[in-house]
Amino acid sequence: MAYLEGNNLVASYGVVPILHECSVQVEKGELAVIVGPNGAGKSTVMRVLLGMLEATSGSVTLDGKDISMLSTQDRITHGLAFVPQTKNVFPSMTVEENLQMGGFIRKDDISKTIEEVYELFPILYEKRKQLAEELSGGQRQQVAFGRAMMTKPSVMLLDEPTAGVSPIVMDEIFSNILDVRNAGMAVLMVEQNAQQALNIADKGFVLVSGRNEHTGTGKELINDREVRKKFLGG
């Protein structure tokens, strides 16, 4: 059994069905990527895993325990962390305040975790007194990761972390994601840039119309003739 599992998830927005028996799994220290065309339900999987959208059937388990009934906030206390695609920082607050807010629910001393984030992203230490809105896109993404890491999560969920950034910044963000994975977390991300994402992924899920179409390691999927033809542009 994998560390985080979404099993046979079925979900809909109102009467519009989005997910049909979709399953994803990710282990600690592993980077899993969900790719697929627009409207395949990639972000919806994230929302269901986080409890922001209720699944009509299926289950979510964390470390073998069923967390399907927990609220979003409780899931975050249990070790899930989420970096939304847009609006993922507090723009008019400083970098340091952003990190403090990330650790809001923690009752213990958070200063050590803040130091760990600074160690991972040294640029944030230099800019700790600056407002998040004054940072570049890549740096802001680091603040967003840092904020999510403040709860000392075991699972990091990322929704299209490279949407709308330049190729250079994209490489920077992917290398940050690998750092987070190497720190021992389970990382699950949704990506539009399928080719690049599968290149660095340990595992990939190709979603089409809310169903698992292909599953395999990143390499397997890239080398799969059908996947290449349909989703990676030949």
Partner: protein, 344 residues
């Protein structure tokens, strides 16, 4: 009257009739404007009930101080209203939290444009609150200040300095400026340094992410109303001590308060304070009669025969409107860049 140029007396005159009244009126507006800013940033609507809420808080102070005077619970020299403020703040908090529970909470739960619905709901609360005040206290004007009226009077000042033109510092002016400084310092410390204050800013910045960070929205809303009660009660009481209490006057205060908030930049606390002083001094400078001031400064041959008043005092509310129009035409985001709240 002297026929030579007399700058010192001219400045003394200006201090007495423009600077001190402007500072205290500006402070009163600033506290009200900060309350509007808080509600706008956290609850995302412009609170039309602010003026009448200030009347409600002042009403509580009037009743409490009346009771305290009848019981002899007074300190000589100090306005009893000042002693009544802490209890009135508690009453005001209960009233505002009740209104939130009965009115605003309902609309927060519905996925519709909060900015429009909130304004409409607050107009309703404005009429209810104004009605309650008039029901219990009547619509006529009254004074409720007791204790020493002056920190120093014109006569004392003249005797001390030997100047022809005196300056008086009213107790209400002194209290207003002192309390406003303390309150603003407290509010900024609270919002910038405490964990709860930061959580409020985070909630105002990005509601969804605040929820993902485990910030309890209900608690943020509650604390907002408590701060609004604090600001509102003190602003209303200080205005009443300074100018007397009249429900209609308080109702109309909404105009200069909104003008302050918009001039400063909606949602910016510093902007609200700067805007308040700008509006206050514009009102006073434009409606002041400069005749005596000019007589001090100009040689005899040039002495004005008219009052040299730019605008009659009866038009002072129009000044807020004109400032509003100018700012909205030239710099719609205000002096300090405010936030524009986009409905999700």
């Amino acid at each position: 009257m002297s026929d030579s140029i007399d700058i010192i007396n001219a400045l003394a005159l200006l201090t007495n009739f423009v600077i001190l009244p402007g500072l205290s009126y500006g402070s009163q507006l600033a506290l009200g404007a900060l309350a509007v800013t808080l509600v706008y940033s956290i609850l995302r609507f412009s609170n039309f009930a602010q003026g009448d809420s200030m009347a409600f808080g002042t009403m509580l102070v009037i009743f409490l101080s009346g009771y305290m005077i009848s019981q002899g619970w007074t300190i000589s020299g100090v306005p009893t209203a000042l002693l009544a403020i802490p209890i009135a703040i508690i009453g005001m908090s209960i009233y505002l939290l009740l209104m939130d529970r009965l009115v605003y909470k309902h609309y927060r739960g519905i996925k519709i444009k909060q900015s429009i619905v909130g304004i409409t709901a607050s107009i309703g609360v404005m009429f209810i609150t104004g009605g309650i005040v008039r029901f219990f206290l009547g619509a006529s004007a009254q004074r409720f200040g007791d204790g020493e009226r002056f920190i120093f009077s014109v006569r004392e000042f003249k005797a001390f300095t030997g100047l022809q033109q005196g300056i008086a510092l009213k107790t209400s002016q002194f209290l207003t400026i002192t309390l406003a400084i303390l309150l603003v310092a407290f509010l900024f410390y609270f919002l910038q340094k405490t964990k709860t204050g930061k959580a409020m800013r985070a909630y105002s910045d990005n509601k969804e992410l605040a929820l993902l960070s485990g910030i309890d929205p209900d608690r943020v809303v509650r604390i907002t109303w408590l701060l609004v009660a604090l600001l509102t009660t003190i602003a209303g009481t200080l205005y009443g001590l300074d100018k007397g209490f009249a429900p209609q006057q308080y109702h109309l205060l909404l105009l200069p308060i909104f003008a302050s908030v918009i001039v400063g930049g909606i949602g910016s606390p510093i902007g609200a304070i700067a805007g308040a002083f700008l509006v206050a001094f514009s009102e006073i400078l434009l409606t002041y009669a400069y005749k005596k001031f000019l007589i001090y400064l100009l040689p005899l041959s040039m002495h004005p025969s008219s009052l040299v008043q730019l605008i009659g005092t009866e038009y002072k509310y129009a000044i807020s409107f004109v400032i509003l129009i100018i700012v909205l035409l030239i710099k719609p985001t205000g002096l300090f860049k405010g936030k524009v709240i986009v409905d999700e």
